[in-house]
Amino acid sequence: MAAVHLENIFKRYKGTAQPAVDDVSLSVQDGEFMVLLGPSGCGKSTTLRMIAGLEAISEGSLAIDTRKVNEVPAKDRDIAMVFQSYALYPHMTVADNLSFGLRRRKVDSQQIAARVKSAAGILGLNELLARKPAALSGGQRQRVALGRAIVREPKVFLFDEPLSNLDAALRVNTRNELVRLHRRLGATMIYVTHDQVEAMTMGQRICVMNKGKVAQVGKPLDVYRAPADAFVARFLGNPPMNILKARIVQGPSSAVAALGGSELPLARWARAALPPASELLVGVRPEELQLHEAREGVGTLRGVVSAIEPLGAETLLMVSLEGDAGDVMARLHRDVKSSIGDRVGLTIPDEALYLFDAFTEKAIPAADVGAP
């Protein structure tokens, strides 16, 4: 078991202008389940592979516990990794796949047998030990890949999108298994994914990455509720948060965000906290919007229904705001009766409003910080 510390880590591939990993600092605690989340190409895999020692670190320092390991070759870092493609040895049986890493480490054979048996038991692979990977289903392969990591009893487990090759049902199952495994082993795990559901349900903390940089680190719900910037806000949540351009105008009691014809009071923000520029971004999650019969009044967005997607369990309404202020998506109760072309109003609870700087896209915290 070990903690992993990344300090100002950079990765520059030859022939690319942007670094693939750009000044990343991150500490993963001993025994923590940390998720790296981000869109495709944001540098998650690269970060993971640098931790594993499969990719040279261009700059910065990587430490496992207190030891700097930048120069330690992969095979000596005592880290196990589960690859997206599983990377099972196709010419070995499941048993050999499991024991290979131990044999190479000269663990004595009785202990190997014991560890393989125990891992196979945990993962339900007992029946499959004599098969080769080609004769396994996707889910079974996945479990062998996991088993291969478990038997090693490494300091740190790394996972690179290990579930993305599984079908939906299996994914949910394996997700739960992994969480249980983490609880049981108490090991340090770093888990890469671009699936926000995985991140939300599995991570003790998540680290959202964007374009090689760390956008935000925190507990899943904290990040969901208090995104550090518009990127994180959009990336977590499905359908994503509505983010609209607005102008700040002086209202009667507080500042007001004007979107086309609609006005939203910014009661929770002190005037001083707002940026000097007159523009900012206003965000609201689709599930926070409520259909409002009256269609009028402060705190209400007015517009025309431009699309309805009844999903059965709920209904999504796309509303084009008045005055060309953009489209918003509302996630409403399944019984909502509305048709395309209806003029509607959408209310937003005060505390559901997010503000972002129009240029830096950074979140502008409300006065009652921390509990939006």
């Binding site: 070759p73 095979k75 000596d76």
Partner: protein, 296 residues
């Protein structure tokens, strides 16, 4: 391999020594590797260099010292060899025979490979096996009777005859390579063209051939190399000096110059240079095609 021993020590002890030993062993390893690479490169390339130097030296210079660097470069030897021996004719014969044989075998082979890769019909695998299995036939099993057959067809001692023999020689390999590749062209592509209204033959012509180009290029190059250098059938099936191909020409040329090593070296260079130059240009294609899975 020194690092294997270091892993057995406790990590703390390794900590500061690791980089040094690792770097040292890496250097040694790389040094050894580089030495092996250089040696092998010399081994595979020195013969050319040697023949190359001999090709611009006279035989008396050569026999004085076989390994000296040419003092004066006798380029005129190339002209002499080219003019005095029938090289122009051999070149033309080889080109004519090999280019047409490769073109035909590619077309026939591609058509058959496409058919075998794409359609389900009874006997598909049987036909494939029959075509492919002739790859194991020792040449002598057909050489003698092929000679008789060509005589009967009145194709003995004709370039046409040798050309169609070449087609039959390279057919199995061509079908084998292309079938493997064509089978991996997605069925969807084929279906899409069908829905676009194209007939089976048009699809072959307009979709399969262009899409299969990497593999086709590979087979073309391989077939070309093999046929360009083919010797046995050319010796047996052509007797007329006017229709000889290049390998036979070089052999005859050796005879004509007998103990004139220098001239023979010149002749060899004349035969080698075009192929090597060609390859230098197309090596990328060849390797691409092979990597694309044409051979595996």
């Amino acid at each position: 391999m020194t690092s294997a021993s270091t892993t057995l020590k406790p990590p703390a002890a390794v900590d500061h020594r690791e980089p040094l030993t690792a770097a040292l062993s890496r250097m040694l390893r790389n040094g050894g590797l580089m030495a092996a690479v250089v040696l092998y490169t010399l081994y595979s390339a020195l013969p050319f260099l040697w023949i190359g130097t001999m090709s611009v030296r006279t035989t008396s210079e050569i026999s004085a010292n076989h390994f000296a660097w040419p003092e004066t470069f006798h380029w005129e030897k190339f002209r002499i060899a080219w003019v005095d021996s029938n090289f122009a004719q051999y070149f033309w014969n080889s080109s004519l025979i090999v280019v047409s044989a490769v073109a035909i075998v590619t077309l026939l082979g591609a058509a058959a490979a496409h058919c075998l890769a794409r359609y389900n019909f009874r006997g598909n695998r049987l036909v494939y096996f029959i075509l492919f299995s002739s790859i194991v036939f020792p040449p002598q099993i057909i050489l003698i009777s092929l000679f008789q057959v060509l005589v009967e067809y009145e194709l003995y001692n004709s370039r046409l005859g040798l050309m169609i023999v070449y087609v039959s020689l390279q057919l199995p390999l061509t079908v084998y390579l292309l079938e493997g590749f064509f089978a991996r062209i997605p069925q969807d592509l084929f279906d899409a063209a069908k829905m676009d209204g194209y007939s089976d033959f048009e699809i072959f012509w307009r979709i399969v051939l262009p899409v299969g180009m990497p593999a086709i290029a590979t087979t073309i190059i391989l077939n070309f190399i093999q046929l360009w250098n083919e010797f046995l059938f050319a010796v047996v099936l052509l007797s007329d000096q006017g229709s000889r191909t290049l390998p036979i020409g070089i052999r005859a040329y050796m005879g004509d110059y007998f103990q004139d090593i220098g001239m023979i070296a010149t002749g060899m260079m004349i035969a080698v240079i075009p192929v090597v130059v060609l390859y230098a240009f197309f090596s990328e294609k060849l390797i691409q095609g092979m990597t694309a899975g044409a051979v595996k």
